[in-house]
Symmetry: C2
Subunit: 191 residues, 2 copies
DNA sequence: GGATTCATGTAAGAGGTTACATGATTAT
DNA sequence: ATAATCATGTAACCTCTTACATGAATCC
């Protein structure tokens, strides 16, 4: 199963709070997500077309007296489902945390969803498991270069786990709209 | 100044220890760099052609009695210069540490270069400076999401700095380095 | 007789960037 | 007047992946 590129979900997320036209989406992603997620204007319109073909979006043209016509996009029920499924899934790869996971957290809070803590918890669990397999492999590694590689990856994972438990936790708990529990997992007292 | 994709430098690195043909390069990168750097067979031949066009490589066809002809590639002086310039430059972006920087360290040790410690030191310096600017920006950040983003990036940088000072340091200083020995005559040494 | 190793490539496609192309309105 | 904002797109190109294509030699 090939997962769709994350950029498309950012667009879905922008539309989750109501129908918007292309330029609007651009503004929203730029001002709110900032440097975390840059979508070029060209790419945006290409992706909007693609998402409409896939029936996750539909559009209607809104004529304006003084401006070029706008194409207003809105989520279809399928699109909404796809977005929420993406939103609450932890990322499989560590490299996707930096952009993709951050964006998930953004939308969860921005759109007023609950379930952020659960997402963080499942991401921690996933990283915990990954860390274990890497530690295993590190033990078995034949040469020093491999060890160096595993060390780097493991260090990165630990850093993200720490971040998830502290920064991400408090980001979600601020505002107090959902119950905050840092009781993330049973078996890892290790740091 | 657009930097060349790092994959090409891995190929140059493989050839730095002596002329090789495509299949050989593939084997070498696979067995030595392993999962750190995967180059598909198709990509390899495309890149070899590109590098030859760029005059960083030259090739000659070596006929074999019992096998299909091999095209043996070797570094030109320009190629060698380009490789060494790449080899001793720290990576500008944190995301490139995972693959590109690791590979630099591999080649420095594998080829018996000195100057690894200096590279590590300059990479640390670069990250240190980056950390400072990020800390500055974090202070100025208007919303909590931006703070979260900066926190993640800063944590990642700190993790890498720690790794550079410990793991990378001991990797370079350890004895039993494989000093490269050239095997210049064509098909003798292999299998 | 069938799988694996040796050995080299082409072609299509996915996902993205940069450049190009258009044009009206509004703010300075 | 001219720059910025609003508003939409196409085309070319880059890097990498996957699939396709070929074929002899050797190992089991």
């Amino acid at each position: 199963m090939k997962t769709r590129p994350a950029t498309e979900y950012a667009i879905l997320g922008a539309l989750r709070s109501g129908p918007k036209h292309g330029y609007d989406i651009l503004q929203l992603l730029e001002t709110r997500l900032g440097s975390t997620w840059y979508v070029s204007t060209s790419q945006l319109y290409v992706l909007l077309k693609k998402l409409e073909d896939r029936k996750w979006l539909r559009s209607s043209v809104a004529a304006q007296r003084k401006r070029p016509a706008k194409r207003v996009f809105s989520l279809t029920p399928e699109g909404e489902r796809a977005f929420e499924q993406w939103l609450f899934s932890p990322t499989k790869h560590v490299r996707d945390l930096r952009i993709e996971f951050l964006t998930k957290l953004f939308f969860i809070r921005d759109l007023g969803f609950s379930g952020g803590e659960a997402l963080v918890a499942s991401q921690v669990k996933l990283l915990e498991a990954l860390k274990e397999t890497l530690l295993e492999r590190r033990k078995r590694s034949k040469d020093e270069f491999r060890e160096l590689v595993w060390d780097a990856r493991i260090a990165g994972i630990l850093s993200w786990m720490e971040w998830l438990k502290t920064s991400a936790g408090s980001f979600l708990s601020e505002e107090g709209k959902t119950l905050f529990s840092l009781d993330l997992d049973g078996e890892s007292g290790i740091n």
